[in-house]
Symmetry: C2
Subunit: 162 residues, 2 copies
């Protein structure tokens, strides 16, 4: 991952690596399957929706499949997943779309102290026996480790100022 170690002009690293300061452990409960890998991935999930195709889905580890009870096709859900390919210490970042460097907490960049990404997607198929869940789209690379699935709820997930 040499290229992930590059720093652009204006970018600032922390003076320590958050990856070396684990306060708690996460477990991978499955993986996201997609057609995307480094080089061909959409910029974001909106672009992934426009591109369509592929067979975006979740493969839950079978032990967790009973946890799907109560979900159904058409329901919006959150996927939380682990973006484990980049560095974790860039506190100021210079994305190509921004005129000047920004703090990591003002960006949705996968490069962050805890590389947890979240996507709101819609269930398109559901097999509670195998733990395979079709979803309408994803911008995650194939085999991205999954951390959690939660029901999306308008009353919680839309902030009051919107």
């Amino acid at each position: 991952m040499t290229d992930a170690q590059d720093i652009r002009a204006g970018e600032v690293p922390l003076d320590f690596d958050p990856a070396g300061r684990a306060h708690a452990g996460v477990t991978f409960i499955g993986r996201i399957r997609s057609d995307w890998s480094k080089g061909n991935a959409p910029r974001n999930i909106s672009q992934a929706r426009e591109m369509g195709g592929g067979d975006p889905r979740i493969e839950l580890d079978p032990a967790y499949a009973p946890g799907l009870q109560g979900l159904e096709v058409g329901r919006p859900i959150w996927l939380l997943y682990w973006m484990n390919r980049g560095r974790r210490d860039l506190i100021l970042q210079a994305p190509r779309h921004a005129p000047e460097p920004r703090g990591v907490f003002a960006l949705r960049s996968p490069v962050r102290p805890n590389p947890i990404a979240m996507s709101a997607v819609v269930i398109t198929s559901l097999d509670p026996k195998t733990g395979v869940i079709g979803i309408d789209a994803t911008d995650a690379f194939d085999m991205t480790p999954l951390l959690d699935i939660k029901p999306w709820m308008a009353g919680i997930d839309i902030p009051p100022c919107i």
Copy 2:
């Protein structure tokens, strides 16, 4: 935490503890400050907003404060935090509000394989020097460990079926 080990009728544990299977580590970047502790906490963030008061805020560890650059008062943000008080192995749960047990992935319960919670809140004050961020409300206990702050974005965070 003896009471957290109780199981209600219809609840089913995994045959292993996800807490014992760490595939990656998270680091705590600060904490949520609130008036809430076990016994007096609101049921959810909507109720916390109705109750009002307190002085809900984030105390970011000072090293991470530069990461706030680009955020401002009035902006909606996500807080991701670590709900570390419960067990992690209940795959079917029987919440008091539900007529029958449900899978953990159909619930927003803090009891889950990876106890990562998320709240959409609004910034009410911001001091990039100290890393203290006032927020409109929280239902998190005082001193809950913070994992991440991200900008809330309608184009990503509202699923297409809504």
